[in-house]
């Protein structure tokens, strides 16, 4: 590529305040870097060559020939180990319960995507995006347990004391794992009982039971271990990290999202752009008002500019009244990757 620095263009972006001479900046791509090793896809999970696919050292075809299945390969991929038969049975149990949840959000999203006449895989992928830090909050839940255990054990606290601390801080949170959702459905308690019967229940099941007990004492209304608490604690006792749990159970639900996509297509019809109406009864915004003539813009327009902190503070409060503006949402500034439960970013390989 040629250097156009001397040719007449817009010059230094027509602004003498620019701290460098933009017109002299070079064009052209960066030459290949031969001082460092070339790029390669680095993985400790799996590799393949022309003849084999190998996960954590195990040939995957040999694994299935030997009678291992998906649940076993999940242990291989996420934990680099073959599970005991009890662990495998427990994961199988958890995944059956995670497969279907009726018309909840992952399926609703899948069905909405289906209405747009897409590939099935788009709907399945979209369903996974429903898993956040409220619905299917396995990362938030698991990391809460991990952090509290680590801090509590460092202080020499008992499981009961750690549980009380968690309840004090998180009672009512969507990611506590204890709520009023499973008071009539025994599935969560049966899962915990099955983990104990199979001998795979450990510290995390002990902790969620203690959390439930502490929450029952602290809450004015009945609460008990819910599916998040049961599945999350059992998965962690099986050795899965909070993020692995999040991923495995979200993907498991996506199979059912695929079936719901299919049913939506089979039963329903597609939606055209502009087809859905939003009835006025759903609207509680500004009353209908005339659009002022463009020439009168200055009479009607209001500047957002705040010249001092008092103005700014008042504007911040006023703007909270505009729903959809984002002014009512407050987020702590922190490493955003920690929201997924990742503890470090950029760790050198």
């Amino acid at each position: 590529m040629g250097d156009l620095g001397d040719k007449k263009g817009i010059g230094n972006l027509d602004n003498p305040g620019l701290p460098y001479d933009y017109s002299q900046r070079e064009y052209g791509t960066v030459p290949l870097d031969d001082k460092r090793a070339r790029f390669q896809w680095v993985s400790e999970v799996a590799y393949k060559n022309v003849h084999r696919i190998v996960a954590r050292g195990y040939d995957t075809t040999e694994l299935v020939e030997e009678g291992y299945g998906v649940t076993d390969v999940l242990f291989v991929d996420f934990q680099a180990r073959i599970p005991t038969t009890e662990e495998d049975k427990m994961l199988n149990y958890v995944m059956i319960l995670a497969l279907e949840d009726g018309l909840s959000m992952p399926v609703a999203i899948s069905r909405l995507v289906a209405q747009s006449k897409t590939f099935l895989t788009q709907a399945c992928g979209a369903s996974i995006l429903a898993f956040g830090h409220a619905y299917g909050a396995y990362s938030a839940f698991g990391n809460m347990l991990l952090d509290s255990l680590e801090a509590g054990q460092a202080q020499g606290l008992s499981i009961e004391q750690i549980a009380q601390g968690i309840v004090k801080e998180h009672l009512g949170s969507e990611s506590l794992g204890v709520s009023d959702l499973m008071l009539k459905d025994p599935a969560a308690k049966r899962m915990i009982a099955r983990a104990e019967k199979l001998g795979v229940a450990g510290t995390y099941v002990e902790l969620i039971k203690a959390i439930a007990k502490a929450a029952q004492e602290a809450s004015d209304t009945p609460v008990d271990i819910d599916m998040l608490g049961a599945m999350g604690s059992v998965m962690m006792d099986l050795g899965f990290s909070p993020e692995a749990t999040w991923a495995i159970l979200a993907v498991t639900r996506s199979f059912a999202a695929g079936a719901h996509y299919i049913e939506e297509v089979e039963r329903g019809s597609y939606q055209k752009l502009g087809q859905p109406l939003t009835p006025k009864e759903c609207y509680d915004g500004q009353a209908d008002r005339p659009v002022p003539p463009l020439a009168d813009r200055d009479k009607h327009a209001k500047s957002a500019l705040c010249k001092d902190l008092d103005q700014w503070n008042k504007a911040e409060q006023d703007r909270k009244k505009v729903l959809g503006s984002g002014y009512s949402i407050h987020e702590e500034i922190e490493d955003p990757s920690k929201k997924t439960g990742i503890k470090s970013v950029g760790k050198k390989l």
Partner: protein
């Protein structure tokens, strides 16, 4: 607490009350307690039935062998998304959506098989005769025969032939396997006659055939394969998020990173001066007249 579903729908798949979650009539908790496998539950989900033991074993084999495939478009998609450090589900969702017309086109292969099987039935031809017609029609029209060939496993996909053999071992060799085997026979014969190299069956040709023979519709089969791969892509994304360098461009890494500036090779129009606004109309008209730009239109 509002427990109304976010979407009102009539569905024959499942319902959920305060007491239980029911899939096609079966209480999920009861299914798990009784010792049924996750694979059994997949039959209930997609086919409204419990499978025979060989069918359950076949699905276990197929899903187990398809789950991990190291660096394929799906894993690369997951890793690519993960380097921006979004929430993990975004990377997994991306990996599943890479399954399209070329990467794991399970549904298309299934529909191809169904189309030609129906023709055989309607035209009174044998499966073998129709398989030859299929191969000839595809190759005469210079279209790839779905289910054949894999760009990385050029000496035969390590998963494919073993899936065929497992299907036969489990005595699940139905009409789809007959069709697929016949397609492979005529495909190999034609390529050999034309002096072309051997191209083996791939995991879609083998795996999807097995899924069809155990009763999964093309889209259900596609769902099973694509979503199953999401598990391993999550592991690849997670490895990169926990152990890798975010952004993928650091010059402090000993290895050139995936989007290091030196990885960019540009083959577009030469660098050129941005025209002044006062010259714009004349410049733009000349550009249209000369038409050189057309070679770059995509």
């Amino acid at each position: 607490m509002d427990r109304e579903p976010p979407l009102e729908r009539k569905t024959s798949i499942s319902y959920k009350t305060e007491e239980k979650t029911v899939l096609r009539g079966y209480d999920l908790s009861e299914l798990a307690e009784e010792g049924y496998s996750f694979y059994d539950a997949m039959f209930v989900l997609f086919q409204d039935r419990l499978p025979t033991e060989p069918e359950e074993k076949m699905l276990k084999y197929e899903m187990g062998v398809f789950l991990e495939h190291s660096m394929s478009p799906s894993a690369v998609g997951a890793i690519g998304v993960s380097i921006g450090r979004p929430n993990l589900p975004c990377a997994i969702a991306a990996s599943i959506t890479t399954f399209g017309g070329v990467h794991g086109p399970g549904a298309a292969h299934g529909y191809m098989m169904k189309k030609y099987l129906k023709r055989a039935h309607d035209e009174g031809k044998t499966v073998d005769e129709m398989a030859k017609i299929l191969v000839d029609e595809y190759l005469d029209n210079k279209k790839p025969v779905m289910g054949m060939g894999q760009p990385q496993h050029i000496d035969s996909d390590p998963r494919a032939e073993p899936i065929h053999l497992k299907q036969e071992e489990l005595e699940l060799n139905g009409v789809y396997l007959q069709m697929q085997r016949a397609i492979e026979k005529h495909f190999h014969a034609r390529r050999k006659a034309e002096g072309r190299s051997y191209v083996g069956v791939n995991v879609v040709g083998a795996g999807n055939t097995a899924l069809c023979d155990i009763g999964f519709a093309p889209n259900a089969a596609w769902c099973i394969g694509s979503v199953c791969r999401g598990f391993s892509c999550a592991a690849h994304a997670l490895f990169n998020m926990k152990r890798g360098r975010a952004w993928g461009a650091s010059r402090r890494e000993p290895m050139v990173q995936v989007i290091d500036l030196s990885m960019i090779k540009y083959v577009g129009p030469e660098d050129r001066v941005v025209p002044k606004q006062e010259d714009r109309q004349e410049y733009a008209k000349k550009q249209k007249e000369e038409g050189e730009y057309k070679q770059w239109v995509i």
